[in-house]
């Protein structure tokens, strides 16, 4: 559990640096966590759509070419990380649009 104790400690230290040194408002942290959850949610949506599209592609290629393409090619964590990046970029894009409208 040592790494997780370290995560808790660095979170606390970061919180105090942000509030005491940088002057960030503690009330904004809740909003930031909400935005993080939104980016994560968007990433999950991208992940589901990506998985369905990839499975459809594999099955389609099998049918069209008569060759074997394995569904196990979907069993890879990198596409999950990329989906999360898609969700993150989507959220940032949406924020910049909202900032322009303000």
């Amino acid at each position: 559990m040592t790494p997780y104790i370290a995560v808790a400690l660095t979170s606390l230290v970061a919180y105090f640096i942000a509030v005491k040194r940088l002057g960030w408002r503690p009330s904004d942290l809740g909003r930031a966590l909400g935005r993080m959850a939104e980016s994560l949610g968007a990433g999950v949506i991208f992940a589901v759509v990506n998985a369905l599209a990839a499975a459809g592609l594999v099955l389609g290629l099998r049918t069209l070419t008569g060759r074997f393409f394995s569904l196990y090619s979907l069993d890879d964590l990198v596409w999950l990380a990329v989906s999360m990046l898609q969700g993150w970029a989507w959220g940032l894009w949406r924020d910049s649009k909202a900032a322009q409208l303000r």
Partner: protein, 203 residues
Amino acid sequence: MPSSMIVRALGLATLALFFLAAFTPLPAFLYEMITVPIHIERADAIVVLAGGGVLASGQLTDTSLRRTVRGIALYREGLAPLLVLSGGAGRRSEGAARSVLAGRCGVPDTAIFATSAGHTTHEEVAALQPLLRARGVRRLILVTDGPHMRRAMGLVRDAGFEVLAAPVAEVEAPTQPEPRLRLLRAALREGLALVYYHIAGYL
């Protein structure tokens, strides 16, 4: 905006699931749900399903090796007179590499039947059925990974055989977050495969 609330709720649910999976025994519980308990008695054959094939070096993959060793051990215990070593279709024959290993472990050539049978579990069982029937096999001990056993057993049973389960233990109840997440991944992957096999009408 309601849509952003839904996306946020989805993100929070995902976070909750992540922490539950990493820090509680939830993955082990799901894994138990998908696996089949060991049930071994004497049978006509021990059938070791394909598992990842052969590396470029000619060595069996870890999964294939674990399954093969389990099959050899069961044979050496005298549980069946025939050891069927299946292998996925491909340039290098997994079945042949497995039979070499079995021979070196003391299984006589006459007791080994190696075959390359299909790309998927469904194709593999369909290809094995007539071959096993021709050898008079009615009751068999099936060797594959724990999570894969339920799907494979269903197919073999539907093919008209009495099946006894000899799952290969992949992991034991982990206590660290990363192995727990790996266990959840294995359970989810096989759960999705089961759903796919049901939708495709294979089970």
